[in-house]
């Protein structure tokens, strides 16, 4: 297991380095440079002096390799530079918003798991009946419904039916849990539906596959109670791929939050990202992409380790 862990950690390093290189190259692919784009984006005339000053501040007047070394050294110290918009450190801007996004992500995961595992299992047990079809349509619809539109519809429904809108001001959970939950449950639901769709499909196919195994037939043949067969033999084995999918999708949640936070006007990482792109705040975009990709790589790592821990066959391969 230790050997596997070390191997897996070592594999992660080139990926994260590669991500950093891609971002560095992408942000220097702009016509002109980020300072020109940023200042031109404001639409007013800018003096050459201002441009030069801003360039010097960001170190863009230095040769490319110096810029690259500075950038990589900064990343190593978790220093992402300063936002071109607010002037505050990028790590600060991200830090104050991270908790909110993480909370929605966790709540969406809980919703997804609570929906997916029962629905997927029942669809597999009643394969090719109307129950199965209903679950499959529900999950395919989940993949097709844009989460931002679902969010708008949720708000609209409350507005028309109850003349009530979810609170717009964010309350941290430790201040007032009830106000916090009544605000965040809706974006979590809008994001979680899509998430649950992916997990439901995986649960269904995993349970179907396991039910065809010899050991299930053996368990049934020796007269075991059906529910026990299901719980001890089928579900336990079917959960492996489901855990993987849930883990992988968790990493994708950051992407889903980009649009949902916009709809519910929540000041999280996703909204920060959209604002950064809209305001040509390249240092902030750079830092955010780096963070999201790193979270993604780390989540994949955790999923792999979990998988290897649950299924010994993996780590001995």
């Amino acid at each position: 297991m230790l050997q596997y862990l070390v191997k897996r950690v070592l594999l992660m390093i080139p990926t994260i380095l590669g991500v950093a290189v891609v971002i560095f190259v992408l942000m220097r692919m702009l016509p002109g440079d980020i300072v020109e784009m940023r200042l031109a984006g404001e639409g007013s005339y800018v003096q050459q002096e201002t441009i030069d000053k801003e360039r010097a501040k960001l170190g863009l007047d230095k040769p490319m390799w110096v810029q690259f070394t500075d950038y990589m050294w900064g990343l190593a110290r978790l220093d992402f530079g300063y936002s071109m918009w607010t002037g505050r450190p990028v790590s600060y801007e991200i830090g104050v918003r991270f908790g909110l996004s993480l909370q929605i992500a966790i709540m969406s995961t809980v919703i997804a798991v609570l929906l997916a595992i029962p629905l997927g299992t029942i669809a597999a047990l009643k394969q090719d009946t109307w129950v199965d079809y209903a679950v499959r349509i529900f999950s395919i619809a989940g993949l097709a419904t844009p989460s931002f539109w679902l969010g708008i519809m949720i708000i609209l429904a409350f507005l028309i039916v109850f003349q009530w809108t979810p609170p717009m001001v964010y309350t941290p959970i430790w201040v007032d849990p009830w106000a916090n939950l009544s605000q965040l449950i809706w974006p979590a639901l809008a994001t979680g539906y899509r998430y649950s769709a992916v997990a439901t499909r995986m649960t269904r196919s995993a349970v179907l596959e396991v039910l065809r195994e010899d050991y299930i037939r053996t368990a049934r043949a020796k007269g075991l109670w059906q529910q026990l067969v299901l719980k001890r033999h089928a579900l336990k084995n079917a959960m492996l791929p489901v855990i993987t999918v849930i883990g992988l999708e968790f990493a994708f949640l950051m992407g889903g939050l980009v649009v949902t936070e916009q709809v519910f006007n929540l000041n999280g990482i996703g909204k920060l990202f959209v604002d950064a792109v809209t305001q040509y705040d390249y240092t902030l975009v750079q830092g955010l992409v780096m963070i999201v990709a790193t979270v993604f790589v780390l989540t994949n790592f955790v999923v792999d380790v979990l998988y290897a821990w649950l299924d010994p066959r993996i780590r001995y391969r």
Binding site: G18, V22, A144, T145, F148, M153, G256, V274, V292
Partner: protein
Amino acid sequence: MSSQPYDLALAAAAEPTRLRQWVDAALKFSREKPLGAAGAVIVVIMILAAVLADFIAPYNPVATDYGAMLAAPSADHWLGTDEFGRDVLTRIIYGARTALLVGFSAAFIGATLGLVIGVASAFFSGWIDLVIQRIVDVFISFPLIILALAVVAALGTGTDRVILAILIPMIPRAARICRSGALAIREMPYVDAARAAGFRDRRIILRHMVPNVIAAYLIVLTSFLGQAILLEASLSFLGLGVQEPTPAWGLMLHGGASQYAESAPWMAIYPGIAITLAVFGFNLFGDSLRDALDPRLKTQ
């Protein structure tokens, strides 16, 4: 020159049977996969709407009518109008054109480039494969929309840039899937036989390997179509995709739709239904196609 009439005659003779084969295949498909056929119907309706938009749309999609701002659905405007008095139904019909243009170009180019890279990676193996796979690893580490937004940040907005922003993150995903398909085929006896027969690399790749990866390619392509349409809608909704006044479903939900949600809910409801139906149709069709083409890759 001398063989041409003969070829033509042969082709003419083969034509009806080939058509019959297609019709038979389509009928068999709809009998065995009713959900897939339903998806195909939605896709066909969408394509027809996009192609015939000029003839079937009741109004001009960009013409403003300040006498009919935020008009509720009525006989004149079946799905109402937006804050500029533009007909919502008309903009949804023309929006199919934008969605299909972006969806098809992004999915097709992305999947095809991925196919070429994936099969080449598997065929040449060794260090070329290793390098390509590490690069693919890096690009897969960005969630789809995050990489797309980063590309938008670098290149700017507009229909052509959106296509680029969507297809770039799709290439590595297609390459990964096509490579794993091609790896299995590389070990097949018929590829060895082709090699033993002295065929060149190019012929082996194009004639023997690519046709057998086509199933994987088509599956990737159809699943990308739905995703590309959804991604375009998301980017446009954020104001970072297709720009006004181009009619696009996501863009119709940007700004006015939330602002007037209470007084003019039709502005928010119908474009969303269009997106959902379109993606639903492509996904249903793609899923069934996957089952039909490759039973080993059963629907998850």
